[in-house]
Amino acid sequence: MSKSEPPLPLTPAVFHILLALFGKERHGYDIMQQVKADSADTVKMGPGTLYGSLDRMIEAGLVARGNTQDPRRIYYSLTALGQTMLRAETERLSRVALVARRQLGSV
């Protein structure tokens, strides 16, 4: 486990990148498009934000570089720690949503 493992809650950018990489290796542009689709156009990420986040996620051990043959199309994949963090954050968000629904329903 990396010493700089990010604590929960994850930032929206990190959460969406982890989600985009779940089950599939993707390159940068593919990640941006998947994040856009997953968030229904609410999270729009440019190259600077994406690669800044990916660098930090690689350092934290959440993401790994995959196929690096073409320097313009480097593929990234989730690590086991990345999957664990994604599941933990999803659980946390579900619990928050449950509490919010309960409170809103009781008003």
Partner: protein
């Protein structure tokens, strides 16, 4: 997937390539080729140039600020400003406003701030950029 060649590079592409020079060298070494390819793809898919540059402008601003704050140089600069503000506040607290010489406190604080910046850069030699979560 569009792959721009020297001949068909647009003005936007060339401008973006120049703007990338604002990022730290270590970051560019890792990601320049990917970022240029991504820009070419975004440009090909963009509904309009203003929409493209709105996204890119926001992205450049946010990521450059984030890179600067995460870098050692950024931390020095923030440290200098904090030290400067602190010295100014201490001077103001003990001496109160100095009629006719309000710039004096600021100037002395600035000099001490620059001195601390100099000492910090001498201690660390060449400031390098660091990346962390």
């Amino acid at each position: 997937m569009s792959q721009p060649t020297r001949q068909n590079e647009s003005r936007s592409f060339r401008l973006y390539a120049r703007l990338l020079e604002l990022y730290p060298p270590a970051f560019l070494q890792r990601h320049r080729a990917e970022m240029l390819q991504n820009f070419a793809d975004l440009e090909g898919a963009a509904a309009s140039k203003p929409a493209l540059w709105l996204l890119i402008g926001k992205d450049l601003t946010m990521s450059l600020v984030s890179q600067f704050i995460a870098s050692r140089l950024g931390r020095y600069v923030i440290g200098v400003f904090v030290a400067w503000a602190l010295l100014f506040a201490i001077g103001y607290f003990f001496r109160g406003p100095t009629p006719g010489h309000p710039v004096l406190h600021v100037f002395v604080g600035f000099l001490l701030g620059m001195l601390s910046m100099y000492i910090a850069t001498r201690l660390y030699r060449a400031p390098q950029n660091s990346s962390h979560v």
